[in-house]
Amino acid sequence: MVEALTIVLAMGVTRSWRAALIGTAVALVALAAVVAALGPALTVIPIESLRLVVGALLLVFGLQWLRKAILRASSWRALRDEEAVFAREAAEARTAAREERGGLDWYAFTISFKGVLLEGLEVAFIVITFGSAQGSIPLAAAGALAALAIVVVAGTVARGPLSRVPENTLAFAVGVMLTTFGIFWGAEGAGVEWPGDDAALLGVLAFVLLVSLGFVTALRRRRLATA
């Protein structure tokens, strides 16, 4: 969401607020349609099969987040710099040709639309998987909308890219949570009976967190040794 906000801000400041905001609104409608179409379809799948599929997807998806966050936290990959991304997007927007379609600056509209849609697909995916596995997609969607409102308010107050948000810490936390739920639900779907039933979720969370922090420490040491 922070990445999408940076793109929309760059388009609004350098090109056209109207086109950037309409592009954002159209992308949000498309994302709502994805959730509305896929969500109910998933709920008709038997719960065991659903948890296996959702668990596997969450695990693959969560491990990608966790892997990137660990590499960034251990300095093997550069941290994302929202100020630099904003400056790059703004520079490209200033030099792009002006083309009007439907009364809109087409460049600002399409870049905002694509940015919000692609970044938002991750959120939609999380809403669909968590919502369907727990039987409450509207509640999961409400949580995502609340997060979106916080990001928009923060961006409005800051009047610029959210460069002070500890983005990698958030990505690390999300990666740990997605991986934890992926392991828990996926294993249940594969026929595993967890000792302690749902309480085992806390044990899995602690395991994933400790292992991930251990990997950060090990890779940081390795980085220092090779520097």
Partner: protein, 60 residues
């Protein structure tokens, strides 16, 4: 069409395809073990930790 396929590949598989394949294999092993009398709950967390570490090692 090619860009669309690439988007979904990046979205679901990401930087390291071996990652996704290993996870699918870990699920299959867990499902097989769950059909026996041996407890299977420990297998997936350990497999995930191992797969993550191997992927990180390849990345550095």
């Amino acid at each position: 069409m090619k860009r669309f396929a690439k988007f979904w590949w990046d979205f679901l598989v990401g930087d390291d395809w071996r990652f996704a394949v290993s996870i699918v294999l870990a699920f299959a092993l867990t499902a097989v073990l769950a059909t026996t009398s041996v407890p299977a709950w420990w297998l997936l967390p350990l497999a995930v930790a191992a797969v993550l570490w191997l992927s990180l090692r390849r990345a550095v």
